[in-house]
């Protein structure tokens, strides 16, 4: 399976996650969100950028609590919760936002 981004075909797995993390560029997130009928706003990009930074340091997506705490610190306490994240990413922040950010899917009992 592939996804078309800027005229390039990028390989994705069965669930639409990028096969090669290095293929990521901001247009990937745009292309994926378009398929989900979701328009990315600055609020979405705040999350996507944080996920990428965290992944770069720790080689894993942040735990939900780590993410909500970071969001709360940066954007205000009223946004530092799962509810806010689910409003942005209705398929689940852990999975949908990770996919847009080019991260692998979190596996396990989550």
């Amino acid at each position: 399976m592939t996804i078309e981004v800027n005229g390039k075909s990028l390989e994705v797995d069965e669930e639409g996650y990028l096969a090669n993390l290095n293929d990521w560029e901001p247009n990937v997130a745009d292309a994926m969100s378009k398929e989900d009928d979701l328009e990315l706003t600055n609020d979405h990009w705040e999350i996507i950028n944080f996920l990428r930074e965290y992944y770069e340091e720790y080689q894993i997506a942040p735990a939900v609590r780590v993410l909500t705490k970071a969001v709360g610190k940066k954007l205000g306490k009223d946004k530092g919760n799962s509810k806010y994240l689910y409003e942005l990413f209705p398929y689940g922040p852990g999975k949908q936002a990770c996919r847009y950010a080019g991260l692998p899917k979190p596996t396990g009992c989550v």
């Binding site: 894993i60 780590v66 852990g94 999975k95 979190p106 396990g108 009992c109």
Partner: protein, 498 residues
């Protein structure tokens, strides 16, 4: 919540057996494992050319190894007692999801190759050759069994469909047809130490964050130690406890209990996973390899006790198999159960007044409890029969003033699976998961309407994630589901708080 491309069942006051509809779930089939998921588990990377002969040889091997397997295949008399007991049948109407229907998928091949009548007069006993169609049917329907063992409670012969499912999955793995979800995860445990693939620095960062949060909330320095040599207790907990909600609130609770009781404890980065998916794929070798990490960590850290966090099948593997898989544990303190469940620890501390709970801290909620299948039907807690039902409820009742049980035919050893157990907690099986949750959702809806229940507590990472995901499909809030130690965490009186 994603928009479903299937019909969501309507909830009813009572769960009734539906009229049979053939093939409603024949399309359900999880992603097949890729070579990189198969090889670390010592399985062929893809379907082998001689899959037919190899599958029959593997079946023969399992029949020789596990006496129970042959007895289960031989002893069914088609009495029908199991037919309306599986949550997946109740939610999908597919007769292959009746436990007897599921067993027969393997039984018909067993009869063809391993019984006299089946060899010579196959039509007489419903014996059938192993064909590619049969193989695909196995892959589909043996990944529609959560190995919860509810049917075995009602079978007069005690046939355990979960063991037949495990055998089927082992045969499938052995010919290179593994399931991606389970095998990718087991490979991650071998490589990194946990299902999620959380490396040590991420664990450190997450645990430091928890210490900060608890200090901010409580003004008490509760520690969440990692790899601390010489600690008394090694806590082995599902990695979802580090990562997901509401799991992490349970982990916060374990830490508060240890802190308040003055028990020195540690987590391990090497054994940062309680779950053991080797069970789900019926593989003794893989189950053993996962278990050995716990032994290694316990020895390395020099602990005296091993305690398991809230994880259903982990407690089954721990309680029933750990000593033979990874024992002997003669280096641990024999004064304590080996291994021990966190609920046993907390329960004992409450009984001895070694920790104090103030249940009024949870007065804003009315709680019910979901018995996790593996804990209910494959383990025990404490030293009395049925302790696995009593102890969690006693801990909950010490932590909350308002507790209500769901209908008796849906709790204790008759509990319904959450719908996501046994290696099925994956998005590619979401239809099955949503439909399989029907009996539990019915029972929950009833206590919500009748008693105003606001929250359902669980003691299994899979149950917690599954309910978080499926509750919204039925118009209920995902935050209804809580960890038992989250309730404890809210209610425990910490010294500095007094």
């Amino acid at each position: 919540m994603a928009k479903p491309d299937f019909e969501i069942p309507e909830l009813k006051a009572d769960t009734e057996a539906p009229a049979v509809q053939e093939g409603t779930m024949s399309h359900s089939s999880p992603f097949i494992a890729k070579p990189e998921h198969q090889r670390p588990l010592s399985y062929p990377g893809e379907l082998v050319e001689d899959w037919h002969d190899r599958a029959i040889a593997k079946m023969s091997d399992l029949l020789g190894k596990y006496r129970s397997f042959r007895v289960y295949l031989d002893s069914c008399v088609k009495c029908g007692a199991c037919t309306d007991k599986c949550h997946y049948f109740l939610g999908t109407s597919d007769p292959n999801n009746m436990p007897v229907g599921r067993q027969d998928l393997l039984r018909k091949v067993y009869r063809r190759y391993f019984t006299l009548v089946g060899k010579y007069l196959p039509g007489l006993v419903g014996a059938q050759n192993l064909t590619r169609e049969v193989l695909d049917e196995w892959y589909s329907y043996y990944h529609q069994c959560s190995q919860c063992r509810r049917c075995s409670v009602f079978c007069p012969y005690g046939i355990d469909t979960s063991e037949i499912s495990m055998a089927a999955r082992e045969i499938l793995n052995d010919i290179g047809m593994g399931q991606k979800y389970c095998n990718e995860i087991i490979a991650k445990v071998f490589k990194i130490g946990n299902n999620l693939g959380l490396p040590e620095p991420a664990l450190v960062d997450t645990l430091e964050g928890l210490e900060e949060d608890v200090f901010e909330d409580e003004g008490v320095e509760v520690k969440y130690p990692l790899d601390e040599k010489g600690a008394d207790v090694l806590l082995v907990t599902p990695s979802a406890d580090f990562f997901a909600e509401p799991h992490v609130d349970g982990l916060i609770g374990y830490g508060k209990v240890f802190h308040e009781a003055g028990i020195s404890w540690t987590l391990s980065s090497h054994a940062s996973e309680a779950a053991n998916f080797g069970l789900f794929i019926g593989s003794y070798e893989n189950m053993r390899n996962v278990s050995m990490r716990i032994r290694e960590a316990a020895q390395e850290l020099g602990v005296k006790r091993i305690v398991f966090g809230e994880c259903g099948h982990a407690w089954r593997v721990a309680y029933s198999f750990l000593n033979t898989l990874a024992g002997p544990f003669d280096f641990l303190d024999p004064k304590y159960p080996i291994p021990q469940h966190i609920l046993e620890v907390t329960h004992d501390l409450i009984k001895r007044d070694a920790i104090k709970l103030d249940p009024s801290a949870n007065d804003d909620i009315i709680v019910t409890f979901h018995d996790s299948c593996n804990i209910a039907r494959a383990t025990r807690m404490g030293d009395m029969p049925g302790g696995q039902f009593v102890i969690p409820r006693e801990v909950i009742k010490a932590a909350v003033n308002n507790f209500v049980d769901m209908a008796p035919e849906t709790i204790h050893d008759a509990t319904f699976c959450c719908g996501g157990g046994g290696g099925l907690l994956t998005d590619d099986l979401i239809e099955l998961r949503v439909k399989g949750a029907v009996p539990r959702m019915n029972a929950l809806k009833h206590v919500i309407e009748e008693y105003g229940v606001t929250h359902m507590a669980a003691i299994c990472a899979i149950c917690k994630s599954q309910f978080t995901k499926v509750l919204p499909y039925y118009g209920m809030g995902m935050d209804m589901i809580v960890s038992v130690h989250q309730l404890v965490s809210n209610a425990i009186v910490l010294e500095a708080k007094q």
